[in-house]
Assembly symmetry: C2
Homo-oligomer: 361 residues x 2
C-alpha cells in the first residue's frame, strides 16, 4: 500500500498573527501540516487528525527521512481513515518543535529563538491556529476531528469552539480536564527539565540543550503511558543480560533500560521548551461548559489507561448525555495502558470506520 505517490509532502502555512488566550498576539505563526487522500469537489470529506504531546504532523506513511507516521496503521486505503474516501489533515501543534511555531522559533523582534519569551499557549490557541489552516485549505466543514490524549482534548475544544464547523469528533484516551495526579506528573516532568543546568531559563538554543532533564521527563511520562499490566507483560522483573544482580547503580532491570532508551531517543527529536509549553497547555485545559457542542461524538476509553482512566470518560459522557448530545461511548478492553490509542489497531479501526460511515452517510 505504500505507493510512491502516497508519500506526503510536508507543507507549511504562515499566518500574520494569532490572538492568544493569554492576551498576547503571536506574529507570525507557522503551522506545519501533512495531508493524505484528496479533498473532494464538495469539500465535505475532510478529517482533521490531532496528535498527542510528542507527536508531529507526520501521521501516515514513511516520509523521505525514513520516519514512520505516528498513526500509520490507521491511515491509508481501506483503513480507519480511508484515504480513498477521506481527505486527512494532520498539523503540528502550536508550541511544538516539528515545524510549527514554538519556543524554538525565531522571535522577529530579537532575531533569536523565543525560548521562554514564547507566550504560554492553551489548547484553545492550538485549535484557533488549526482553524486558520482549515480555512486556508478552503474547508468550511470538517467531517470529523479526531485525536488521542492531547489530541482528544483538542477535538473536544474544536467541538465547543466551532460547533458549526465540526460534524463529528472522535476522542480517544482523553478527558475534559486533567486530574490532579496528571497535573502532578506534568509538574515533575517540567521540573526535571528546569532543574537541568543546561536549561538556562530556556535560553539554550545554539548551545548544549538540557538533554538529561528532557530524557528524565520522558522516562516519567513513559511510566504513565504504560499500564502496570503492560510493564509486567513486557518486562516483569527480568534482568538485563545476566541472571544475577550487579550490586551497583547500573540498570539491572530490563524495565529501567527500556525507560533510558526511550528517554535518550526522545531528546534526538524533541525540544525541551516545547515539552514545557505543551504540558502546561494540557494542565490549563478545562472545559466546564459543553453546551455549545453540535457534533456527533465518539468517546473511547481504554480499560488499563490510568493517566486518563475510564471513570473520567464516563463522567464526560454523562455530562454530554445530560445535555442531550449525540454521544457514543466505548471502553476498549486493553492491557496496553494510555498508549492503547496508538496500538489497538483492530478494535479502533472497527469503531472509527463505523462511526465515520455513519457520519458521512
Amino acid at each position: 500500500m505504500h505507493v510512491v505517490d502516497a508519500i506526503p509532502r510536508i507543507r507549511h502555512r504562515t499566518f500574520d498573527a494569532l490572538e492568544l488566550d493569554c492576551g498576547r498576539t503571536l506574529s507570525p505563526v507557522t503551522i506545519e501540516y501533512e495531508t493524505y487522500g484528496k479533498l473532494n469537489a464538495a469539500k465535505d470529506n475532510a478529517i482533521l487528525l490531532l496528535h498527542a504531546l510528542s507527536g508531529s504532523a507526520h501521521a501516515a506513511f514513511t516520509n523521505d527521512r525514513g520516519e514512520h507516521g505516528w498513526w500509520e496503521d490507521f491511515i491509508g486505503p481501506g483503513r480507519a481513515l480511508d484515504t480513498d474516501r477521506y481527505f486527512v489533515i494532520c498539523s503540528n501543534v502550536l508550541g511544538g518543535c516539528s515545524g510549527s511555531s514554538g519556543p524554538g522559533s525565531v522571535d522577529p523582534t530579537t532575531g533569536r529563538p523565543y525560548g521562554l519569551n514564547f507566550p504560554v499557549i492553551t489548547v484553545g490557541d492550538m485549535v484557533r491556529a488549526q482553524k486558520h489552516l482549515v480555512a486556508h485549505l478552503g474547508i468550511e466543514t470538517l467531517l470529523s476531528v479526531i485525536g488521542g490524549s492531547l489530541g482528544g482534548m483538542q477535538a473536544l475544544q474544536w467541538a465547543v469552539d466551532y460547533p458549526n464547523l465540526v460534524q463529528s469528533i472522535v476522542v480517544l484516551a482523553a478527558a475534559k480536564r486533567l486530574s490532579a495526579q496528571a497535573i502532578a506528573f506534568n509538574e515533575v516532568g517540567r521540573q526535571a527539565i528546569m532543574s537541568d543546568p543546561h536549561w538556562c531559563q530556556g535560553d539554550y538554543y545554539g548551545r548544549t540543550p538540557p538533554d538529561a532533564g528532557l530524557a528524565l521527563a520522558r522516562m516519567i511520562g513513559h511510566i504513565t503511558y504504560l499500564s502496570e499490566e503492560a510493564m509486567h507483560e513486557k518486562f516483569g522483573r527480568a534482568l538485563k543480560q545476566t541472571n544475577s544482580y550487579h550490586y551497583s547503580f547500573s540498570e539491572d532491570f530490563e524495565v529501567a533500560s527500556y525507560l533510558h532508551y526511550k528517554g535518550n531517543k526522545f531528546v534526538e527529536r524533541f525540544d525541551a521548551n516545547s515539552y514545557l509549553y505543551i504540558t502546561k497547555a494540557m494542565d490549563y485545559f478545562d472545559l466546564p461548559d459543553l453546551s455549545s457542542i453540535k457534533a456527533k461524538l465518539l468517546i473511547i476509553s481504554f480499560s488499563s489507561d490510568w493517566l486518563f482512566p475510564p471513570v473520567q470518560q464516563r463522567a464526560l459522557v454523562r455530562s454530554l448525555r445530560r445535555r442531550n448530545k449525540d454521544v457514543t461511548y466505548c471502553e476498549v478492553q486493553s492491557w496496553r495502558g494510555h498508549d492503547a490509542f496508538l496500538l489497538e489497531v483492530e478494535s479502533l479501526t472497527e469503531l472509527i470506520s463505523g462511526f465515520l460511515d455513519n457520519v458521512s452517510r
Copy 2:
C-alpha cells in the same frame, strides 16, 4: 500521655562487622535505635518496628529536637503498640542517614565518607543488622515484627530468614517483590539524583549536595504515595492564591506547590545517596520461597494503594495459604493511597491490637 519519661533516648549500637549479600563485609556497623516501653523479665514482650524508605528510628513521641515520631499515633499506653504491655524497638535501616551506617558514614579505610564506595545492600542485609541488635538486647524471640512498605518487606524477610525468632509479623502495604512499575519509579527517582551535577558520583559530602535532584525524586515518590482520589480530595484542580492562570511556568496549581514543598522539606533531613541505596534494596527484594516461615502473619492492604496494590497482597496470601501458613488478611477501605499505613489509625489500631492480643495470649 506525653509524660517526660516517655521521651525516648536515642541509642546506637556498633558491631565489628556484617557479612553482606553482595559478598563484601561492612566494618564497623552502627545501628541507631529507639525503644519504648519496658522489656519484661521473661523477655517475651518485644516488638520490632521497621520503617519505610524515608523513616528513621524515631517512631514515637516527640523527641528533644521537637520531631514527631513517624508512627506516634500507634505507639503509647493503650495504643496499637501498647507500651504498658510491649517493649517496642525501632531501628534506622542499614544504608540510611539517620544514625545507622550508610553512604554518608566515614569509611575507616579512607577517613572520608563512603559515598558510592558503600556496598550495595539488600533487605536481607538490613534484617541481618537488626538481628545483631536484637541479640545484643538479650532478646531471643520477638513477639512481633511490624512494618509498612519497605518495613513490611523487612518483616517478611525476618519471617523467612529467622523463623525460630519471630512469633508473628504484621505486613502493611507491602509485597514479596516490587512490580515492574514500582522498579520504574525507583529508577527515575535515582536518575533525578544522579543527573544533578552536584551529585558528583556520590562524592558531594562537605560540598553542595544534590538537593534539586533529591527534591525531584521525592516529588515523584509522593505522587506514588497518594491515590488519585487522595490528590483529588486534597487539591483537585485548585489554583494557588489567584483564581486565574499565571500564563507562566510558576506553580499555578496547589498540587504542584504541595509537591515542591514536600520535596524541599525532604532535602533538609535526608541524604541523596541513602535514597539511591534504599530504593535499590527495594528493587532487589524478591522472596520466591516462603516455606521456612513459622510466624503467624497479618497482611494488610489498602484499597487505593497503587504502589503496592491489593492484588499483590492477595497473591502473597494465596501462596502462604497454599503452604498452610497461619495468615490473616485484611483489605482496609481507604482513599489515602499507599500512605494509608501511616494514617488509618482507627482501623489499623483495631486490627493490630487484636492480632497482638491473640499472639501474646
